[in-house]
């Protein structure tokens, strides 16, 4: 087994005292940054890049540190999703759907444990995939053209109605607002500014993390402010401090399925972790939501997206390392850093710098274990956060969000934008409109549009290119199948309730 000996040599690189120290530091800082709303992998990597230059670490150590932060953020993002209903970073939005209801029911410790184990499973599967198949997968992913990506996004948006639907019309409305917001900024294809109102702060478009923090954190604060006028805020009841194994074990298949879906999304350079966690959730719901428990605190609804987002984050390293194509925002920053350290990602990286690649792979295995070990004992501490009275908690959350968002670009405009999104989020929540589809629209809309237009540029305006490849045809067939199944299930449920009503009546 050649791979085993390569990984073995990688462990020799990763197990130097410096690299282990950096790994642990990275995991800890990453978990913390991920857990704090508004601070995420981008901040973490931005903080640490100057640091790696200042200390003059070699490329392998720098990459180990930054990837540990990256994985740590993916772990940490779920904590505030579950405890506060505020996602710590973009891919963690899906975890709010079932994680927060679980916490409200006193299951916070179990939700944290399930998401921790799911993150571990997802990330480990991704790293195994990375070490076994990276070059092969990268070669396969290049056959995904713009038309195929467009078909993938069509599939994603067709399933969006399946996430959090009291009323599918409101879900659709929310997704459409997100899609509209995604068009703001300089259009990268034509260079024309759209909906910027001659304000050059809007030229780069709306930074998703600013919108996310505004929509979730600020609106949550506004809702609590409103509530506390009416009645005294009560801290949430907590049933137990430590998680039970019996709650984690039944979600094992959800974790494995989520990992698989997420990994595929991660390997495709045009998709990324947000799409990975979203697709993992939707498919798990379609598969398992027999009793309508999803969205009301189903443990599988926590396990699937968490496994999905972590395996997507790991999968995204494959196109980054073997093709030099970043699969997500954070890998783009990692890539820029690698290039400035004189490492040339691309088809020859695995042959030219095996120390770096396999040292990284080995340290990712170690990072996963470190994160699990670091996170499980901390569940008890995090759970106690639920007991914090809101008068103490919310000002801190507000302070962190403002500091975090200002730290991204040193721009007061971003703070104003965040407050705007806070008010928008408050209004929408008052109208019972789910915010998750809005953020997904904003995150995925731009890429969906660009891939459609790329396909159109390639074909010179001939629409038939959209169904010209076997990949896109397969994806459209899947989409139609998914929609047909949803309609059929809805009709059946409707008939059943009707029949029940008749027998009762």
């Amino acid at each position: 087994m050649e791979v085993l000996s390569l990984i073995g040599s990688g462990f020799l690189v990763a197990l130097t005292p410096l690299n282990i120290g950096l790994l642990l530091l990275g995991c800890f800082v990453g978990t913390l940054l991920g857990a704090l709303p508004g601070l995420g992998p981008v901040n973490g990597v931005a903080v640490l890049i100057p640091l790696t230059f200042a200390f003059g670490f070699d490329p392998t150590s720098s990459l180990i540190l930054l990837c540990a932060v990256y994985f740590g953020c993916m772990y940490g993002g779920r904590i505030s999703s579950i405890l506060l209903n505020i996602p710590g970073d973009e891919p963690a939005i899906m975890t709010t759907l079932d994680g927060y209801p679980m916490a409200v029911q006193g299951q916070a410790a179990n939700a944290l444990a399930i998401s921790g184990v799911a993150s571990f499973v997802g990330a480990t599967i991704a790293v195994i995939g990375l070490s076994l198949f990276a070059p092969v997968l990268a070669r396969a992913a290049i056959h995904f053209g713009p038309a195929d990506y467009f078909a993938l996004y069509i599939l994603a948006f067709a399933t969006i109605g399946g996430i959090a639907g009291v009323d599918p019309r409101k879900t659709l409305l929310s997704a459409l607002i997100g899609l509209m917001l995604a068009t703001v900024g300089i259009d990268p294809i034509s260079g024309v500014p759209r909906y910027t109102f001659d304000n050059f702060h809007l030229f780069d478009g709306i930074e998703p993390i600013v919108a996310l923090v505004g929509l979730f954190a600020i609106s949550e604060i506004l809702l609590i402010l409103e509530k506390s006028v009416k009645d005294r805020p009560k801290a949430i009841r907590v049933d137990r401090w430590m998680p039970q194994w019996s709650a984690i074990w039944p979600t094992r298949w959800a974790m494995l399925r989520g990992s698989g879906v997420g990994f595929v999304a991660g390997v495709l350079p045009g998709a990324g972790a947000s799409l990975g966690s979203f697709m993992a959730y939707v498919f798990e719901k379609q598969k398992s939501n027999k009793k309508g428990t999803f969205g009301k605190g189903d443990p599988r609804g926590v396990a699937a997206p968490e496994a999905g987002n972590n395996s997507a984050a790991g999968g995204a390293l494959i196109p980054m390392l073997s093709l030099g194509v970043p699969g997500s925002g954070t890998t783009a920053v990692l890539l820029a850093m690698l290039i400035s350290l004189n490492v040339q990602p691309g088809p020859l990286l695995f042959e030219r710098q095996p120390d770096l690649v396999w040292g990284l792979v080995a340290s990712l295995y170690l990072a996963n274990i470190a994160l699990l070990v670091l996170n499980l004992p901390m569940i008890g501490i995090f759970t106690r956060l639920m007991m914090t009275p809101t008068w103490a908690l919310m000002p801190v959350v507000a302070a962190i969000t403002f500091v975090g968002v200002y730290g991204i670009s040193n721009s007061v405009f971003d703070l104003e934008l965040m407050v705007f999104f806070g008010v928008l989020g408050y209004v929408l929540r008052k109208l019972d409109v789910s915010l998750v589809p809005l953020v997904l629209g904003l995150l995925l809309g731009g890429d969906m549009e660009r891939n459609l237009r790329r396909a159109m540029s390639i074909s010179d305006g001939d629409w038939s290119i959209l169904i010209a490849s076997p990949i896109s045809i397969t994806l459209y067939v899947l989409t139609i199948g998914f929609l047909a199944l949803s309609v059929w299930l809805a009709v059946r449920d409707h008939r059943q309730t009707k029949a029940e009503r008749l027998t009762e009546g």
């Binding site: 704090l36 931005a46 990268p188 034509s190 350079p269 290039i339 088809p347 670009s409 540029s457 010179d460």
Partner: protein
Amino acid sequence: MKLRTMISVKLGAAMTAAMMVTAAPASATECIAPSNPGGGWDFTCRTIGRVLSELGLVEGNVQVTNMAGGVGAVAFAMVAAERPADEDLIVATSTVGVTQMAQGRYPAPLETMRYLAMLGADVGVIAVDNDSPIQTLAELNAAMAADPSALVTGGSSGAGGWDHIRLLMVAQQAGVSDLGAIRWVQFDGGTDAVTQMMGGQIAVVSTDMGEIAGFVESGDIRVLAVLSEEPIPAFPELPTAMSQGVNVIGYNWRGLYTGGQVSDEAYNGWVEKLETLYNSDNWQQAATSAGLVPIWRGGAEFEAFVREQAGIMEQISRDIGIIQ
């Protein structure tokens, strides 16, 4: 009690993290990188700042400020409005910034600032897949001249961006009159475009060498021409466009500007310092290891170069209908 301590610890950590992003050791000299950390302009400021203080050309450290937004427009507007005469301020820019100016996307025209120098460049390349029937630049030009819309081309910039304009400059030399007919596809980066070419989606890529050098080494793609005056040190065997009779220089240079009301004395002082920096081993090494080719143009020569480049960009943008 325990809880409160924990919250304050968390808050403290967040504050430290945020301050580490914004604060750097104070010094009189400041370099504004109009991008987020990790971007190209950030590299320009950090490396030049580091070498400036290593060589003792400035006192203390150079403070690097990240001011992302509007592809450099936010920083440009701030300097124009608030610090046009600040002699201790330098701002990173590149061909990308000048393209924006040439197309009128900055709040003030090019002449608002004084351009100090370029210290290095990423060199443009025109490449095809390794199993493409096109073997030379002449064959590509013949194909484009025969039917401009026959080949699908792409790169990392949008229509009217530098990757696109460089290709059109080559096509123009080849006698293609209907530049707008050439099909151009934008991708999010040079490697993105190359992998899509390997996947058979497009036929020709025009982008910077730095990002895609790995594919040149591995033999996955065939470089038809590099758009520099001299062959580039990393790949001396690759032919330049000029050696094939096509007079196009396609540098994506990295350089600096300063406020428009800075005195001649301070301006010349900066140009002199930067020339010393350019000739140092420290810079030559830093630039080469970041995939740049060290190239110097400074002072009046650089001002003229920037204006000429902007003029060409404006003309081509008009020809293909990007600006009116």
